[in-house]
Amino acid sequence: MVRRVFSSFILALVLLFLVVSSAWAIANPTNTNIGDSFVFRNVLVSGDQLFFVRYNINYGSVPSESATIAFQMAIYDTDGVTLLFVRPVNYYLENIISIYLTPAQALTWNATYLVRIQGSPALFPVLTEGINRATVTLNAGNYREGGDLGEVMIAQATILQEDWGLTILTAADLLNATGATYFIKAVPGLNTMVPDIFQTTSYTYPEPSKVGNQTYINQTLLHVGPNLTNAIVGVAAIFGASEGGAGFWMACIGGMLLGGIVYAATKRPDWSVAFVVVGLGVIGLAGVGTQTFIAFLWVVLALGVLFGLLWIGRNLPF
């Protein structure tokens, strides 16, 4: 019984191993090579770098697994061992890919870094140069200024158009929709870097963002004295209202008080109303709560309607 259980366990382990192995296995390509490699600088912003490669992962029978999980572009340090940057490729066979480095990530210009197209270590336990790995050691000839980018891209497109047997350039040597699709997949942001090489494209214009602040709004609060501020805060606390609301009601009460005083002294309701309006305006400008402005406007509006109705009533013929 024990032997049978043990045998079943071993068999299950072997089967599991076989299943797992086959799931992660992928056939080697016939060969892998790099056709061209370039490094450009100052392509999008000052100090950035773009590592570009035209490669060929040559399969006689294209695997069903996506190239994105199977192969990658990698930049190694000059020692050839330290992996610096890596990005999956998009397609098998002849194609292009790139790695963009921000100014903060940028590497030493003209240095002898290694650029590789290689199988993913997860799928290819052994990487063999020429079979599932291709390496180029960069030299000064590979390094170009950003101003050359458009011209080099069109040259690369001309090669690919011939090799692919597809139409990716217009008669005027601009990338058509097909060319644009695959070049932007390989070089994200290429349409912003060199918009002139595209037949039609849209790109992001780098506009510095505007930062808003409350400097002006806070200016009104600066006019409020500490005692008045304390009074507003205190009233707000008593009634459980916001400070703006408390300021508003205090302004209204102050306005009515002012109107009453003026009326008592002059017996002129029009003067009284005028002082209320002006008084609210002054209080609002003094910054007693932003809602005081709203109260002021409401009073002006209400008075406008009231006097308008009075005028209409007096001037009607009946």
Partner: protein
């Protein structure tokens, strides 16, 4: 009757994934014109053949080019008769070619 690529399909020019993407996009498809992957028998045929071995493609396209016996396929492709026959059997099973006539001298015609 499909077209025939220059090297009888021994090598592939472009990832079949790209061909599928172009075929699915009206704008990219129109840019390629009516001759898009015509030599391979169209985009669908290209995608199907890209998953097969170079030998299978060579045999298939040599038949398309007019080879009517295993010997003629062998001459056109440079493959041994054994490889040709096994590949023909494979293509038959996949329904890509079929027997049409039996001749006394050379065997099978396709």
């Amino acid at each position: 009757m499909v077209g025939v690529p220059g090297d009888l399909g021994k090598s592939l020019t472009v990832d079949p994934k790209m061909v599928k993407e172009i075929a699915a996009s009206p704008q990219m498809r129109s840019e390629q014109g009516s001759g898009f992957m015509e030599q391979y028998g169209g985009p669908t045929q290209y995608v199907e053949m890209a998953g097969m071995s170079p030998e299978a493609r060579q045999v298939y396209y040599s038949v398309q080019a007019g080879a009517s016996t295993p010997e003629e396929v062998g001459v056109k492709t440079g493959l041994s008769l054994g490889v040709v026959n096994s590949t023909i059997a494979l293509l038959e099973r996949r329904g890509l070619i079929s027997r049409t006539t039996v001749t006394r001298e050379s065997g099978l015609e396709y």
